[in-house]
Amino acid sequence: MAAVTLLSTTGLSRHFGGLRAVDNVSFELAQGEVRAIIGPNGAGKSTFVGLICGRLAPTAGRIAFEGRDISGLPAHRRVGLGIAYTFQITSIYSNLTVYDNVALAAQSAMRSGVRRNGVRPLASPVAPEPVQVDARGLTPSSARGLTPSLERRVGDALDRVGLSDRREAKASTLSYGHQRLLEVAMGLALAPKLLILDEPTQGLSDAEIAGFCDLIRAIAREATVLLIEHNMDVVMRLAGRITVLNNGTILSEGTPAEIRADQAVQRAYLGT
């Protein structure tokens, strides 16, 4: 793969007191990849992606996204650059409708799209602040110029995860599997360059997992996917490459076949 590096970390570390949760990790992710991060419990996977998306500050090391050093950027700015993160523990707006959940993501993307590219998003009018999206509903004629683009983004995201028929439902009334899909829809509505999924299939049924894998494959055509996953079936089916973390360091990295054959990985998982 003569790929462009999308994300790289150099000597990235995060210590909690004496615990080296992530220790001197240098990592590269190519554009368009589906990369899985696996490792035993406590290996530092969630801490590692927490550092990447800015939820945690590193103790040492650098993070570069599209060649730009983002180590010092707050999380919301990194989202604006195109790094989307879905939480390990489902985090949605329970009291809002499915539609509103996704629309909040779309509104953010449209605003940062302007900042990111210096151009207005599609179908936005000449208003100085392109996110003045209708919402009022009360002035449909003047707002119509804007509405379709937010509306379309939300509709697209919901279509892709298959929640279109639930758009008016309150998010808390969705089943657990649907709530996870809603989180992915929110991630999609952000139109990210890098989508980080933290244990997305945890708690899903086998049928739901199969659907989820199809969805991730579809997403991977447009975005780079970084996946933390415990379910080895899912990992083997989806990932182009796998990075194995253990005790905060990279134990091994390679294609699924290579990882499957790796003695060190087997030892880490099964104990010596």
């Binding site: 939820r55 329970s94 909040l104 953010s108 003045q132 919402a135 009360l138 119509r144 509405t147």
Partner: protein, 332 residues
Amino acid sequence: MKRLRLASPAQPYAWLADRGVLLHVGVLVALFLAQLALSDYAILSLARVMVLAVYAVGYNILFGYAGLLSLGHAMLFAAGLYGAGLSAAHLGLGAPAAFLAGIAAGFVVAAAFGLIALRTSGVAFMIVTLMFAQAGYLTSLYFADYTRGDEGFVLKGEIRRAVLPGGLSFDLANPVVRYNLALSLLAVCLIGCLALVRSPIGRVLVAIRENEDRTRMLGYDTEANKLLAFVISGTIAAASGAAYALLFAYVGATFASIQYSILPLLWVLLGGAGTVLGPLVGTLLMFYLVDVTSGHTSAYMLVVGVALLVLVVWFPKGLLGTLRERVAPWLP
């Protein structure tokens, strides 16, 4: 169910949203017409309620929408009250200029206060705002040479006449003038609040209230948005304080005390936190509850307390909040 009213999903329903605007305009028109039918006493008290409702509207933006419970808003109300009152009494500003001075004072205090207090959250935020407001209250007592402390001071003479740059002048001691000025301020704040909560910023504030961490990870600068909510809220509270000083001609330290931090919280809870009209409804209800019961019994606070308990049991989200949940989900 809470509805953010992000781009109404189907345009045919747009008229539903219109209903929200119509309701607010209708309430304001009703308040305007009320002065034709009401007694002098009712006009006086309703003017007072409307000015205080502006305070509640400001409080609601921070508490009801952004989900931040401040126990120190008396400081911001008092910033407006003293900003207007002191500049009128000691600097000789006319009423319109003094009003603007009060708002400016509130803006500055809110920005400084917010920058510090918002470094905390949850219970710590409540405590920090409470302590700041106590410090503000003690400051107003300390400078008793100017503020006359608890006793306060009365605005007299020229300041009772507001002269606008165009030469237009109002007699602030005239109850009808006072009523309509209070109504105008309320109208501006209510419509402004409605526009704010339906704007992208308003939606982000609700998102912060509902799930701050998620909101940050959707790419919103939650800290900046909270500060914005704090400053808008504080400036409206100060506008209310400034109007109170100029319309009712009295400025005293009571208005900076803890009581005036708790009152807007009660009004908003009563009327419905996170509803645009809730603060007005709550202020109105509380005022007349006290007004009517105190005419019959000296134990009127007991009646008020029981009424509040009943509301908590039957209308846990306040009158309008519960109404919205059960019958009128379109209510903004």
